[in-house]
């Protein structure tokens, strides 16, 4: 099976879905780039992270639309096109730019179906890159999926690897509801085996990345490979954990988490979002409620502190939860000291 980076896997999913369904369009800033440039080279960019490369030459400027820097118009136009029967994939470049177009996402897109009495269909996908660790500062590094997970009407996807990303994006494009698709910047170059043929990964179905007996570890996006590193280290001491990657935060696969917790009695949640009103806190509440009878120890949440993302690498390293902090949390939940 071919090895693909997450960048290429998402790119392949876009190609395959645009090929399959003429209603699929892509729009955003520099999704091809080069329009109006002096080199005359169209597709001078292919997306700031190269994710949309090749789409313009294959599908043309009618379906691969470079936009001005106008996030509200990008999301709003994508949503309007979806209401009118297309299946747009809008790209917001950095997840932080949600701040510019929040109204279109949470007052418009998210509410149509309910507010219009179930009559509307808004199959829009809004893609964006998230995550800290690259020295990009407070306005280009945030993991804001908790913010949008809180909004009824949106489905939220947070892939941790190339294989899932491809299947989840194809599902997102075929899904009839609005989907926000978060791509962690640090995961773009990470490769794994990705089937060539199109496939879908169902929303609300967690992936059991590792099986173990001592602790249930739930992690999202880049925190999944970090948790794997921690588990590798702990395995040498005979500690084994379930590692659950929910893959979507809305819908959330509560049952898989609770079933695992039944077996282990101990829960560590690893989340790159800030700690207040986070997905980690949401899952901790799930454990304290439906999972109460299973708990043998207090739930531990491994998150950044309640601060914006700092610029200096010295601080950013301390901000992002890393394998060592995850390892320490697992020891702690087992009562084996920090």
């Amino acid at each position: 099976m071919p090895q693909l980076s997450m960048r290429d896997a998402i790119n392949q999913a876009l190609h395959q879905e645009m090929e399959r369904d003429p209603r699929v369009i892509v729009l955003g800033e520099d999704v091809s780039g080069g329009a109006g440039g002096s080199s005359g080279e169209r597709e001078a960019s292919g997306g700031i992270f190269g994710v949309t490369k090749g789409l313009l030459p294959r599908f043309g400027a009618e379906r691969v639309i470079d936009t001005p820097i106008s996030e509200s118009a990008i999301v709003g136009a994508a949503a309007g096109a979806a209401l009118a029967g297309l299946r747009p994939v809008a790209e917001l470049m950095f997840a932080d730019f949600v701040g510019v177009c929040m109204d279109q996402i949470y007052n418009q897109v998210a509410k149509f179906r309910y507010m219009f009495g179930g009559k509307s269909r808004c199959p829009v996908v809004i893609r964006m890159a998230m995550g800290a660790g690259m020295g990009m500062g407070a306005q280009h590094s945030q993991s804001i999926y908790a913010l949008l997970t809180a909004v009824p009407g949106l489905k939220i996807v947070v892939p941790s690897n190339a294989r899932d990303a491809k299947g989840l994006l194809i599902q997102a494009i075929r899904d009839d509801d609005p989907v926000v698709f978060f791509e962690h910047k640090a995961l773009y170059p990470r490769k794994c085996e990705v089937p060539e043929a199109p496939y879908t990964v169902r929303f609300g179905e967690a992936s059991l990345v590792r099986e173990g007996r001592d602790v249930t570890v739930v992690a999202f996006a880049r925190m999944v490979p970090f948790a794997e590193k921690a588990l590798d280290a702990l395995a040498k001491e005979g500690i084994s954990c379930d590692l659950i990657d929910p893959r979507t935060t809305s819908p959330l696969d509560e049952d898989t988490i609770l079933e695992s917790l039944e077996g282990t009695g101990r829960l560590v949640i690893v989340d790159e979002s800030p700690p207040r009103c986070s997905v980690a806190a949401d899952i901790a509440a799930l454990a304290a409620g439906r999972g109460y009878g299973s708990l043998k120890a207090p739930v531990i949440q491994v998150t950044p502190p309640h601060t914006p993302v700092p610029f200096s690498p010295a601080l950013e390293r301390a901000y992002v939860p890393g394998p060592q902090r995850i390892e320490a949390a697992i020891r702690q939940v087992l009562g084996r000291g920090a």
Partner: protein, 326 residues
């Protein structure tokens, strides 16, 4: 009224400082020592300095992701800026902001912004403050919003321009049209390809100037400033300029013709044009300018050496300054 000699020299020094600051960063970034995303201002110096020359520390500016030039033009400390860009504790923002988020409130520099279109509404707010503080009949202070051609397509910028007109706020919108919104040409992304007319349509005076000509920018700014300081409301300047580097460092610039930058360096270099202009009217000598060149190079060199040697922030800084009290 032409600028007096000392101010001409100061303007040249600032333009040269911006140029050398950016040229040096271009070299240093390649070493991998500077974290993150850096957007260089080289090529656009006459805009920042032409706009800021007549501003005082009590006048405000808001800046963009391409903000080093605005900071230097407004008088920010070079050492503090360099340390910030290197992520050091002694940086202007304690290493927490970085290249895209330099601010210096003592200088009326309200911050660079990594959200395109994020700044102009803030500038209108600062202009409201200036307006409230202006005594009857007195000359007031102003607020300047720097933005690129890309920013003129953001709703926030439309809203800010309209609000400034509605309130007759002393806000000046400076659009630096360097031809590109990231990797897309302004001729494509700005529908009318006429930012000046767009600003004028909001009901303010707006003019287009040659952004490589310090004197043209300065004269346009002086007109806008006189009007705004006297209570005549907002204005806009579209400065036609060019960037000598990519959108960010590492940008392969495939959207640009191979010889475009070389051509612009040969014909649109604001420093060369400034020198030619002062030589022609005899206001400054080549020796005086050469001396500034040497001093600037030494200053930038010292700033890089100091930044490299400066300590990183301690981990305990991570959770400070989220709030004033909590």
């Amino acid at each position: 009224m032409p600028l007096e000699k000392s101010r001409l020299l100061a303007a040249y020094r600032r333009m040269k400082t911006i140029r050398e600051f950016e040229e040096r960063l271009h070299v240093e970034i390649a070493t991998g020592e500077i974290p993150g995303f850096t957007h260089l201002y080289a090529g656009q110096e006459a805009v920042a300095v032409g706009v800021c020359t007549d501003l005082t520390d009590q006048d405000y500016i808001v800046s963009t992701h391409r903000g080093h030039g605005h900071c230097i033009a407004k008088g920010c400390d070079i050492d503090g800026m360099m340390k910030e860009i290197y992520g050091r504790r002694a940086g202007l923002c304690k290493g927490k902001g970085g290249s895209m988020h330099i601010a210096d409130f003592d200088k009326g520099m309200l911050g660079a912004n990594a959200i395109v279109g994020g700044g102009p509404p803030l500038a209108v707010g600062a202009a409201i403050a200036c307006k409230l503080r202006r005594g009857a009949g007195a000359q007031g202070h102003v607020s300047v919003a720097f933005g690129g051609d890309g920013s003129c397509n953001q709703g926030t910028v439309f809203e800010a321009m309209n609000l400034a007109v509605v309130l007759a706020a002393p806000a000046i919108f400076v659009f630096e049209n360097n031809g590109y919104s990231e990797h897309t040409g302004a001729s494509y992304a700005v529908g009318s390809n006429d930012i000046t007319a767009r600003a004028a349509a909001f009901g303010m005076s707006a003019e287009r100037v040659d952004g490589s000509d310090f004197f043209a920018v300065h004269a346009a700014m002086r007109r806008a400033l006189e009007r705004a300081r006297a209570g005549g409301g907002p204005g806009a300047i579209e400065a036609m300029t060019t960037r000598f580097y990519g959108h960010f460092e590492g940008d392969p610039q495939r959207y640009r013709a191979k010889d475009e930058v070389a051509r612009h360096r040969a014909t649109m270099d604001c420093l060369v044009r400034f020198r030619a202009s002062v030589a022609q009217d005899g206001s400054l000598s080549g020796e005086e300018l050469d001396a500034i060149d040497r001093e600037v190079l030494e200053e930038i060199d010292a700033a890089v050496t100091a930044a490299r040697a400066a300590p990183l922030p301690p981990e305990s800084d991570l959770t400070t300054d989220v709030y004033i009290s909590y």
